[in-house]
């Protein structure tokens, strides 16, 4: 009896030994990365210098602008696109950021976000169009997008550091990869959801494929495309904070310092700065998703604003 038990036990042991194998996926990934650093060095240098040029100049530019001008421009946009309440919020928010002594960090972050967003849209939007036009491309790209979105954001930082070292460039690249999927997805979705009869109407009246894209499909997909752009900006903003771990700089620095040195106040200030920036960017980009003609012009809004102010004063 005992011997039978022992026999089955050892059989089970052997079976499970045979089933459990070590798959060297991590090693494989390392090998690939090593191979790429060795053989595509020049490519990475080229990418790095291009990104460094754009991101560097943008951050420089925003830092160069006097805060008063930024106040006026952003509040003006807010008044034009959204309304006087939001313009008021923009003024107060920016004043808080200035008052927390986080102005240079905010402008760094703004520059990085805009650089990363431009790159993500430049790659993502055409890719989305290709996906919409071709089912093969769509079925090939979709799993890659899933991969890009579900992989924890921190994991991007590792190869970025290996390829490009630390600093602004790998931070921007990691941000581009992380923030691109919604632009691609929503462009694809938007074009595919243009009503069939509108596409048929375009074709029936003699559109060639370029006219069909630019005169029918893109304009009708615009709300969806703008939602994608908005999402890309939001993701870029959240990633830029994480990217400060590899020295990207910006508003992530005080947050990181707050975590590392347990300085609650500093961390909170950094976080608040990010939130204010996020709300401003979100509302402004969302407002551009609505057709211009349905909104009142800047003049009307100014009149409304001062009209209200007058009423308040007189009452």
């Amino acid at each position: 009896m005992m011997s039978l038990n022992a026999a089955t036990d050892s059989l089970w042991q052997r079976l499970s030994d045979a089933f459990v194998v070590d798959l060297p996926i991590g090693e494989g990934f390392t090998v690939i990365v090593d191979y790429m650093t060795e053989h595509f060095d020049l490519l990475f240098v080229a990418i790095a210098s291009a990104i460094s040029f754009v991101a560097g100049n943008l951050t420089l530019f925003f830092n160069y602008l006097p805060p008063q001008l930024v106040f006026i421009v952003l509040a003006g946009l807010a008044l034009w696109r959204v309304g006087w309440q939001f313009a008021l919020f923009v003024l107060v928010g920016l004043y808080v950021v200035l008052g927390m002594n986080l102005w240079p960090e905010s402008m760094d972050t703004l520059g990085l976000v805009i650089a990363a967003t431009l790159a993500a849209l430049g790659l993502g939007l055409p890719l989305g169009v290709l996906m919409a036009k071709n089912d093969m491309v769509a079925s090939g790209v979709r799993p890659v997008l899933d991969f890009m979105q579900t992989l924890p954001a921190f994991v991007y930082l590792i190869p970025a550091v290996i390829f490009f070292g630390t600093g602004r460039v790998p931070g921007t690249i990691a941000t581009v990869i992380f923030s691109m999927p919604p632009a691609v997805r929503l462009m694809n979705l938007g074009i595919r959801h243009v009503p069939t009869e509108n596409v048929e109407a375009g074709r029936a009246f003699g559109c060639n494929s370029m006219q069909l894209l630019f005169k029918v499909q893109l304009p009708l997909a615009l709300p969806s495309i703008m939602a994608g752009i908005n999402q890309t900006i939001m993701l870029a903003l959240s990633m830029v904070v994480i990217a400060s771990m590899i020295g990207a700089g910006g508003l992530g620095d005080p947050v990181l310092a707050g975590i590392q040195q347990l300085r609650l106040g500093t961390g909170f200030e950094g976080g608040l700065g990010v939130v204010i920036l996020a709300i401003i960017l979100d509302r402004l980009t969302q407002s551009f998703a609505q057709p211009n003609r349905q909104r009142e012009g800047l003049g009307t809004r100014l009149k409304q604003f001062f009209g209200r102010a007058d009423k308040v004063r007189s009452s």
Binding site: P195, E197, N198, E200, A201, R203, A204, F205, K215
Partner: protein, 404 residues
């Protein structure tokens, strides 16, 4: 009349291997058998018909009968699997992409069920859409678009946007957009089906009015029999992808090709379809051809034929009037012994002639109240025949039976 558009043995197979399905059709397999065996759908099967220059040709069928597929093969929004579609003799299925785009810009345009206006463009820009694609200059296309908008009564709304318009107005824009390119052929795919009944009738009238100003070749798709009867010069009826009957509305009502076609008219009031000329009979009453004939001779003639009344027309069959036994007798009583009497003096004034194109519905009271059979007269005054109460009842009864 010349043939503008001819569809010759056109097939459409939806599926991976249309050739295989076509082989099966040639072997005589049915649509259902092919679907069961291959999973491919026969959308349109061996459709053939010709559309004359300037007529409204209606394609009617239930949903799924292939009519929308068929109309899309006429401008190649859908490519046919086999067969030829000729516009002015040129086979469009053989055209290159470039020729096709040129054809769509100049020769054939379309009106859609859901209007399919571009929401980001003003009414004027929407109307000028086809010309803009063809590279026509801004001023010229706006001028033509305004003219088309004027024709459908929307000139005042040129600067509005589609979401500011009602359904009927949107479809007027859709119609104006199609007319702006001044097409040889106008395709209308269930163009009025999404509109409520009152607006639908209004749009049908609008189409007929535009058609009376300039007769275009129109292919009109509908599932609505009343609409088909109203606008159609000729109707093609589709069933399961095949064209089962082509003819004028009257021909189809009078002689439906099969039970499916007949079923369309179940519960439909055919008195709209038939006109006075359809029911009029020539041999029912005595006809007097000599206007100079005397009253006495006419009375003699009636007695001879044992008839109550007679129609009088001249040698060119121009209708003059109706005389009856009573009116002739009355007339003779007033005459002297020697007088022959003019027949005109014996005309019965209660009997009014009706025009040949009067629909039966408008005829019924008239025939019922008239003491004698009612004469039917063409627009140029020529006598067609008469309608007696018995004949009218007989017609209504017969069509009722046909529909039941």
């Amino acid at each position: 009349m010349s043939t503008k558009l001819s569809v010759e043995h056109v097939y459409k197979i939806f599926g991976a291997h249309p050739k295989a399905a076509l082989e099966r059709i040639k072997r005589g397999e049915s649509k259902d058998e092919i679907f069961a065996a291959t999973g491919m759908t026969v959308g349109v099967s061996d459709a053939s018909f010709e559309v004359e220059q300037g007529e409204i040709f209606v394609v009617m069928g239930l949903s799924g009968s292939g009519k929308s597929t068929l109309v899309r093969m006429l401008n190649r929004l859908i490519d046919s699997s086999a067969g030829a579609v000729r516009i002015d003799g040129q086979d469009i299925t053989q055209m290159s992409r470039k020729q096709l785009i040129e054809l769509r810009r100049r020769e054939i345009s379309m009106v859609f069920q859901s209007f399919a206006l571009m929401p980001h463009q003003s009414v004027l820009e929407n109307t000028a859409f086809g010309l803009a694609m063809g590279g026509v200059s801004r001023s010229e296309r706006h001028e033509k678009a305004l003219a088309a908008l004027d024709a459908v009564g929307l000139k005042a709304n040129a600067d509005s946007y589609p979401d500011e318009l009602s359904g009927g107005m949107k479809q007027r824009v859709g119609l104006a957009r199609a007319l702006t390119v001044d097409p040889g052929i106008l395709l209308m795919d269930e163009a009025f089906s999404a509109l409520d009944p009152l607006i639908r009738t209004e749009m049908q009238d609008e189409l007929l009015r535009l058609q009376s100003q300039q007769a275009r070749t129109v292919v009109f798709i509908t599932h609505d029999l009343d609409e088909a009867m109203r606008v159609g010069d000729r109707i093609a009826i589709m069933q399961g992808g095949a064209v089962v009957q082509v003819g004028t509305p009257e021909e189809i009502v009078r002689d439906p090709a099969n039970e499916y076609v007949r079923s369309f008219f179940r519960g439909v009031d055919v008195s709209h379809v038939f006109t006075a000329a359809d029911v009029a009979r020539r041999h029912h009453v005595t006809v007097i051809e000599r206007p100079g004939m005397s009253v006495r001779a006419a009375l003699e003639r009636l007695r001879e034929h044992d008839d109550e009344s007679a129609v009088v027309h001249d040698r060119h069959r121009k209708y003059l009037g109706v005389v009856s036994l009573n009116s002739l007798n009355h007339c003779i009583d007033g005459l002297g012994r020697r007088e022959e009497g003019e027949i005109e003096t014996a005309f019965v004034h209660e009997v009014k002639s009706v025009a040949a194109d009067t629909p039966l519905t408008d005829l019924m009271t008239h025939v019922a109240e008239s003491p004698y059979p009612v004469p039917v007269v063409e627009a140029d005054g020529r006598y067609v025949g008469t309608i007696s109460r018995a004949a009218l009842l007989h017609t209504l009864n017969r069509t009722e039976k046909g529909a039941a």
